[in-house]
């Protein structure tokens, strides 16, 4: 008998249909993957099972958990289920914990609530589950606050909260999307073990086919609120009967076509970074002793040739973004020099940096956060134009914006819209348009596709490749995602604890990593082909 059965579930929020006739079942001890792009209704399916839907949501159909009719249950019944029989893990570990309560309080709270245990007993059990998820007492006493933990550690606390009472069903909504690949592999291992130990059902929600393939026995693919395909993971993905499944699988392995661009004549490097380091003041331990500085970037050297595309990969916190900020002259190195087109940009006053700023632009990760919501696209995309020697007239400016929009695949009519009228992928196109409007020689892109769905991400990667070819732009890609590096980079630099530990041609580094950090990254990277092959092999 199934633990969870969803039949013909439809959901509307304020009259807008979100889910249409969704069917899904999970047996005890089974891992079911729910895959789909953003807005496909994955999270809403999860929140329906938890009955934590927004105020205006109306659900119809049947959701049965362990014989209980979820849609018809009273709020009291649901409170008894949540956290006890059904646990849930969320996507964003940085904000999922209450900042003013200790981790002990937060883990013990659910235990006390459901079991009526006294404080000491609850804390005892909280201690045990925290040990189990890999947060041992010596380093992580119950009195720690969330802000004292890293993202991966916080996600372990969230998992501890969800699994403290050995639920029959665990719902994990993109549990590793915000983490780097090494942490992702660790968290997935932990979830897999917990499922095995407790014969727990797991509903794993993800947009990442490779992750789901590694984890799930069966999978359900959602598109626009409807199930397009469901079934055994290996078979579904190897046969790829439904066109949408094929599309997803192709997009997630997409490599943009990139015939070698002819290098712009001279062998003079575009960017030279020499022995650059950046220290931050450390935390003072004593009033009388000076604090030890923390070195975020330590003696890094690299060069980028014109039109070359370089990927800087590393785990979160390794110093890649700090390095990028110094290259963009947004931060000053403590040591070393950075030269752009032969001219030093370190230690120069802001006024002398204008030419460098014009030729060097940036694309950020979050297409939602990097635009002022109250300004029109024309103004947003034209922003870097103030760096030009000669200020274009209004008509000319509109012309330039229209041209830039055209180059990224948007129309001139989009100029008079506001950012909220665009989808995530379109917004990332806007930020690329903003980056190329001054005809830069170098674009620094900080995780430019990691917030995007696979199909959009494939399109954006194609766009980057096309612009590289057409305009001869060099790229510095900063990413923890090796598929992006593999898809796109001529050269890969692996960064670890502030240092470059490995460098070489992309295929070489990714296929035969020599240093330990690079090996860790490569082996932790989920790979769709490998995962399918392994599943098929297991099933004979």
């Amino acid at each position: 008998m199934s633990l969870l059965e969803i039949e013909n579930l439809s959901l509307a929020i304020g009259g807008t249909p979100i889910l249409k006739g969704v069917d899904l079942a999970i047996a005890p001890g089974e891992v079911v993957g729910l895959v789909g792009e953003s807005g496909s209704g994955k999270s809403m399916t999860a929140l329906t099972i938890m009955r934590l839907l927004p105020y205006l949501a109306r659900a119809e159909g049947r959701v049965a958990f362990d014989g209980i009719d979820i849609l018809g249950a009273t709020e009291d019944q649901m409170c008894a289920l949540r956290g006890d029989d059904i646990g849930m893990v969320f996507q964003e570990p940085m904000t999922a914990l209450n900042p003013v309560k200790t981790i002990g309080e937060q883990v013990a709270e659910g235990i006390r609530w459901h079991t009526r245990a006294n404080r000491a007993e609850a804390e005892d059990r909280a201690r045990k589950i925290l040990d189990r998820v890999g947060l041992p007492e010596a380093k992580f006493p119950l009195s720690r606050y969330p802000h004292e933990l890293s993202g991966g550690q916080r996600q372990r606390v969230v998992i501890a909260i969800a699994c403290a009472l050995k639920p029959k069903l665990l719902i994990a909504d993109e549990p590793t999307t915000a983490l780097d690949v090494v942490l992702q592999a660790q968290i997935l291992d932990l979830l897999r073990d917990l499922v095995r130990e407790n014969r727990m059902g797991l509903l794993l929600i993800s947009h990442d086919l490779a992750v789901v393939t590694e984890m799930a026995d069966r999978l359900t693919i959602l598109s626009h609120g409807e199930v397009t395909e469901a079934g055994d993971t290996a078979r579904t993905l190897s046969e790829q009967q439904h066109p949408y499944t094929r599309e997803l699988a192709l997009a997630s392995m997409h490599v943009p076509a990139r015939p070698k661009p002819h290098l712009a004549g001279s062998a003079k490097p575009l960017l030279e970074v020499e022995g650059v380091g950046r220290d931050y003041p450390g935390r003072r331990i004593s009033l009388f002793r000076p604090a030890q500085p923390i070195s975020a970037v330590d003696d890094v050297s690299l060069t980028i040739e014109p039109a070359q595309s370089v990927a800087l990969v590393g785990r979160s916190g390794c110093g890649k973004s700090t390095l990028a900020r110094m290259i963009l002259a947004l931060d000053k190195p403590t040591t070393g020099t950075i030269r752009f087109r032969g001219e030093a940009i370190t230690g120069k006053p802001e006024s002398a940096l204008r030419p460098a700023r014009r030729d060097m632009q940036v694309v950020f990760q979050d297409p939602y956060g990097s635009f002022d919501p109250r300004q029109k696209v024309e103004k947003l995309v034209a922003e870097p134009l103030h760096l030009l020697e000669r200020q274009p007239a209004k008509a000319e400016r509109r012309e330039m914006v229209a041209h830039a929009l055209h180059e990224v695949g948007l129309g001139p009519r989009d100029m008079d819209k506001y950012p909220h009228e665009f989808s995530g992928g379109q917004r990332q196109r806007l930020s690329i348009a903003r980056a190329i409007i001054t005809r830069p020689k170098l674009v620094v892109a900080d995780e430019p596709v990691s917030a995007l769905d696979v199909s959009i991400r494939a399109q954006i990667l194609d766009l980057f490749a096309e612009l590289n070819q057409k305009l001869g732009i060099a790229y510095l890609f900063i990413t923890h995602d090796l598929t992006v590096a593999r898809a796109f980079a001529d050269e890969v630099l692996v960064m670890h604890e502030g240092k470059i530990v490995e460098r070489g041609r992309a295929a070489e580094v990714l296929d035969h990593p020599r240093s330990e950090p690079a090996q860790a990254l490569v082996s932790a990277m989920p790979d769709l082909h490998r995962a399918i092959a392994r599943r098929l092999q297991e099933q004979g």
Binding site: L52, E75, C79, D84, V100, G110, Y145, E148, R283
Partner: protein, 315 residues
Amino acid sequence: MTAYFVKRLIIAALTLVLASMVVFAVMEILPGDPARLMLGLNASADQVEQLRNQMGLNAPLVLRYLHWAGGLLSLDFGRSYTYSVPVIDLVRERIAVSLPLALIALALSTIIAIPVGVFSASRQGRAGDTLAMGAAQLGVAVPNFWFALMLIYLFAVWLHLVPAGGFPGWSAGIWTALKSLLLPAVALALPQAAILARVARSALIEVLNEDYIRTARAKGLPYRAVLWRHALRNAMIPVLTILGLQFAFLLAGTIIIENVFYLPGLGRLIFQAITQRDLIVVESIVMLLVAAVILINLIVDFSYAVVDPRLRGRQ
């Protein structure tokens, strides 16, 4: 934690010194010779000069400042020009009215505002919220003296529960004294509560959209428990900020209410001192209020750290 405390303390002390310099300088610049004021228009220049010497007004500026500031530290504020009594005695009498009044008003305001804010936030956009916030809007808009008049009419004139005004002094018994402070405190508290409730509501609504609220709900806690245990404490920082500002206002900004109820409070004293050019009294009260505000801010800063562990730094 200690570093945070020490830093705040040092900042507070420096602010106090700076403020005392500003107050002293302003009083120096203001026209009007205290000696002449005390002696009256018919005094001769000699007499005035003699008194100036006697009062130390002819000493160098720095010396006079140090003398004055030193006096402040030992609670010696000098003598009032008009009443010829030590300023400290005048002030002490008035604080005995103003401080309890402010505290009661603040307590009332908090007791009313927090539940209203929680109620409204948890029913955002529904009838109860609209009603409560409409009432709060009214509370902000209507001046407190009008509330005061209505309260007097209802509770004193009509129901005879409390006196309509005046203060019998604490020697008349704690209950009698408190009773005469009750109506003014309510009149002061209502508009403050209205502001505070709005702040609490918007802070709570913001917090209720946070991810950790969802985490708490997923644990199986009922909405109500999540609201009180998880949301409220996170919404306290803006509430505490407003509370601090309100307390400072309630200490000295209550002159209208003091007048409506014939209360001998600090507000009336400072008003009288200003009209009578009793500069030393003005100076002393201003300094006292500055000190009180700095102290309140210090308390607010410390309570931030109590509420939010992220402000404490690592132990």
